[in-house]
Amino acid sequence: MNKITQKELKVSAIENGTVIDHIPSDKVFQVIRILGLDKMLNQITFGMNLESKKLGKKGIIKVSNTYFEKDEIRKISIAAPHATLIIIKNFEVIEKKKIDLPDEFEGIVKCFNPKCITNHQKVMQHFKVMDKENLVLQCHYCEKFTKKENIEFL
């Protein structure tokens, strides 16, 4: 086992599944919630306030026997824009990918504007990502901005 893998296994190794690494520590519970991991029956381990060169302190979540779909990865990208996804099969790292915020996406979060049509009728939310660094979303419908501190997941 190389050094990197050993470090990743600090929380506990998984045979098959996904590791979500480089989550800001304060976002770990949010990621758990939006992915519905709190209702999942598979083995899940997570850690917070682990040392990280990039983030200072980071969080990590390991989910056994689960590989996330596009929509779920998108959710992670909004809650934790700099996270890394590590796909593990037979204790081996098969793939490691940085997840990126899309330029535009549907659903996932609520428009912050209470007068927006998406908060009044059955309409799928639709946002353009205006600022990836500071996470500023513009609603396709009401044109108002939803900022990082106001993001509420559906």
């Binding site: 007068k115 049509i117 009728q121 419908y141 009401c142």
Partner: protein, 306 residues
Amino acid sequence: MKNKSLISIHDLSKEEIYEILDLAEKFEQKPKQRILRDYIVATLFFEPSTRTRLSFESAANQLGARIIGFSDASNSSVQKGESLKDTIMTVSLYSDIIVMRHPIEGSARLASEVSDVPIINAGDGANQHPTQCLLDLYSIRKTQGTLDNLNIALVGDLKYGRTVHSLVEAMCKFNATFHLVSPDILKLPSSVKQHIKDAHLKYEQYTDLEDVTDKVDILYMTRIQRERFSEPMEYERVKNAYILHNNMLDNSKPNLRVLHPMPRVNEINEDVDCNPKAYYFQQALNGVYVRQALLSNMLGVEPENK
């Protein structure tokens, strides 16, 4: 723009704006021409706005179109809980173009996504009212001969005024210099100021109306609403500071014109009405020409005097 909807002023390029304004001039030269006699225009006013509706209906009538619709949602199927989507899908089967006003922001964009016919947004809450913006641009060009390099003062409620925000953003395409006159609590929001900065244009903020009257080409007045103030005393203190009187225009530039989106309450004193620099009634009439231009353009019908 045939078969395209008009939802937001941001949807229009500079070229498309000029195209509409040029076409509106044709209708100013010849307002009555029955080129839309085979068309049905639906005017759906989910919230009442008599001025805007009459302007659209006058525009449609002068072109010979038939009009269907409602002026108030309270006695329509909407009141029975029908979704906006269903209303629009149904009406789009009965009409060739839909003009809609709705209190909820983003409603017009949604409508344009479910409708088979073009939608003209006649106001969606505090969001957009692009035909007002186009008639403002038409009036500015008409009175100044150009849209480029103008000094424009915006006066009154710059914080909540949707009309002001759209006009500022549109004039950013034309190298304007902005003079922003308002009480401190009704200043232009920073998000709108950002547009000015992004376009590398100049703006200055004032609290005194008399500081700008002599140096601008356009004086765009707006109403200050009592509801915007939590303190009634504060309203009483500022309300008279933003009233334009005729003598305040004594040293203004000869090309200055006074605009107002109407209705006014008392922010332009009636003694201004006789001043040749007062342009707000003509501005309202220009709205009819602009709406004629939009209806014909979006239906793909050319004026007789092209």
